[in-house]
């Protein structure tokens, strides 16, 4: 078996930017069937099969090892599984899709500026309000890891798959862990990022699966593909 599989985002701005980035590196990704097709190729590189996937599925499949290499956000690798970062190799940051995963509290919480304030508030939240402090987020894995590191155990996450910034106003949660580029959406919703509240700095990356099984010829093809992109080859 030879050949390698490259997965790229299937739609939106991320797809465009990914294809532009490859084009700048002299690789033209073709999508013969148009936007409804999920199979493509790179001109002049028959050994590479291109698949178009949603970004979160690219993260999952890289960790599982069903694809060799993919373009997705660093955040999604960390979020998909605790073992995610260990299962892949970040071969090259691509310089777009930059965003931070942050902890934000209501502006009115003037007493909370750092994670250690949050630890104090969380520790007696239950005594005061009869329930745990609630955090709305779609980043449950990242939240758990980061809060554990900060020594905060007394909270519950509420899964929020969209418009997380609205959760405090709608009463679903007290604070949020959300992704932001400029912070303006958070600010518009009366939320403020803690001074030490950046949990992860994410951007689109070229990522190699460490769990995918590759024959020696496929491995050589992968290494040469990475070299052409001046990306780092995994040790």
């Amino acid at each position: 078996m030879t050949g390698i599989t490259l997965a790229v985002p299937s739609k939106g701005r991320l797809e465009e930017l990914t294809r532009e980035w490859f084009a700048q590196n002299s690789m033209i990704i073709t999508r013969p069937g148009g936007a409804r097709s999920y199979l493509g190729a790179i001109e002049g590189m028959p050994e590479v099969t291109v698949r178009f996937f949603p970004a979160s599925e690219i993260a999952r499949e890289l960790i599982r090892g069903t694809i060799d290499i993919g373009v997705t956000g660093r955040d999604l690798i960390h979020e998909t599984s605790e073992q995610g970062p260990g299962a892949v190799h970040f071969a090259k940051p691509l310089g777009f899709g930059n965003a931070d995963v942050v902890v934000a509290v209501p502006d009115s919480w003037i007493d909370v500026t750092h994670m250690h304030d949050l630890a104090d508030v969380a520790s007696d939240f239950r005594t005061r309000h009869g329930r745990w402090m609630r955090i709305a987020t779609k980043y449950i894995t990242i939240t758990r890891q980061h809060f554990a590191k900060a020594g905060i155990a007394e909270y519950r996450t509420v899964e929020s798959l969209g418009a997380t910034e609205a959760a405090p106003a709608s009463g679903v949660a007290d604070i949020v862990v959300d992704i932001t580029t400029t912070g303006s959406t958070l600010a518009a919703n009366g939320l403020r990022v803690l001074e030490d509240g950046v949990m992860l700095q994410s951007e689109a990356c070229l990522i190699v699966s460490r769990t995918a099984e590759r024959s020696p010829p496929s491995q050589a093809q992968l290494d040469s593909f990475l070299t052409k992109l001046s990306a780092e080859i995994a040790s």
């Binding site: 009115s108 003037i110 155990a153």
Partner: protein, 354 residues
């Protein structure tokens, strides 16, 4: 019977011989109480499933919670003892998600010391079935709480320090922050009423409920407290005491002697909790026993004495202690003495093969 089967039968017999009710809670349990009691940190270890109504269930991740819940539902008060041996389910980095635990729970016993002795004896007996002479690590939650309540500092700092006990990095960060607290001149603070008015306006503007979560008064009070705390330094001598205390770790007698010296130097009355630890040492036999002043589970319902027993490769084979606040946390109206432990059967079996 082969070795493994014989050991299993012996463990089974030990669990039966505790003069306790054999507990067999259901395999499928509601997940909410676990999140409520132990938070997200433990929650990520659960094997979860959702029923048709959207309610979350988990495969039994431990025996203690369902045992104690059933005890409370039956009407608390009477001394009770439970023992168990059976599968539990947790996501682990290595090893199968299903594995056996054995253990005992002693509730509302008239003498907490005797109860803890029975727990330690059970753990030692279980380990000796697998020919393990463990390293026993003791921690003193009661001892630290006694020290904290007597140490010279502004009261508001005590719960903040207590809350971080058992999390070495978080506690270290707090102490470092306190040590570095600059001597800043206090700024003139706005009045409480003005603050509350301000915060209320901000909350209304952001569409936040004034009653559901944190209230304006709570935020204002904590803000003022925080400002006052920044000015109210923990004395350097107290910080040194805490650092010195938390660094104590070693052979138990030596460690306790060091703590006694520290106590007399700082005029602290720690005799009772230290004697409580000494009383249990006889029952531990030839095992190597260390006391680690900074050791505590990260769950605030532990009280008194806690312990871990490790084997040759450092894996925890048994852990437990006293948790007099657990029943209250689960809905009992007053604290009820509780102690217990669990032993990891698969790890014990692995010790035999080492």
């Amino acid at each position: 019977m082969t070795g493994a089967a014989l050991r299993r039968a012996n463990l089974e017999a030990l669990v039966e011989a505790q003069g306790a009710t054999r507990a067999t809670p259901p395999l499928l349990l509601s997940a909410d109480p676990y999140f409520d009691l132990a938070g997200e940190e433990f929650g990520r270890r659960l094997l979860l499933t959702t029923d048709a109504t959207g309610a979350e269930h988990c495969l039994r991740p431990d025996f203690t919670l369902p045992i104690v819940q059933a005890y409370i539902a039956d009407g608390v008060g009477k001394p009770a003892a439970f023992s168990y041996l059976g599968p539990i389910f947790r996501q682990r980095e290595t090893g199968a998600a299903e594995f056996d635990q054995a253990g005992i729970e002693l509730l509302a016993q008239p003498d907490g010391d005797i109860a803890l002795d029975q727990v330690l004896t059970f753990a030692r007996a279980a380990l000796s079935i697998f020919h393990v002479v463990p390293h026993v690590r003791l921690g003193g939650v009661g001892l630290f709480e006694a020290l904290l309540v007597q140490a010279d500092m502004p009261d508001a700092w005590r719960p903040r320090i207590r809350n971080r006990f058992g999390h070495t990095e978080a506690l270290d960060r707090l102490l470092t922050r306190l040590e570095a607290a600059p001597d800043m001149p206090r700024e003139q603070q706005p009045s409480r009423d003005a603050l509350i008015e301000d915060i209320t306006a901000q909350m209304v503007a952001a569409g936040l409920s004034l009653s559901e979560g944190r209230s304006p008064a709570e935020i204002a009070d904590r803000y003022l407290e925080q400002q006052a705390l920044d000015a109210a330094h923990v004395p350097a001598a107290t910080l040194k005491l805490l650092r010195d205390y938390l660094a104590i770790s070693g052979p138990v007698l030596q460690a306790l002697t060091q703590i006694e010296a520290l106590a007399s130097q700082h005029k602290l009355m720690l005799g009772a909790p230290i004697r409580a630890i000494r009383r249990h040492l006889n029952g531990l036999g030839e095992a190597r026993v260390t006391f680690d002043a900074s050791f505590s589970p990260r769950l605030d319902y532990y009280t008194g004495i806690v312990f871990e027993m490790t084997g040759a490769n450092g894996q925890i084979l048994a852990s437990g202690g006293q948790y007099d606040r657990l029943l209250e946390r689960l809905g009992a109206t007053a604290p009820i003495a509780a102690s217990g432990c669990s032993v990891w059967v698969d790890r014990l079996e692995a010790e035999v093969k080492l």
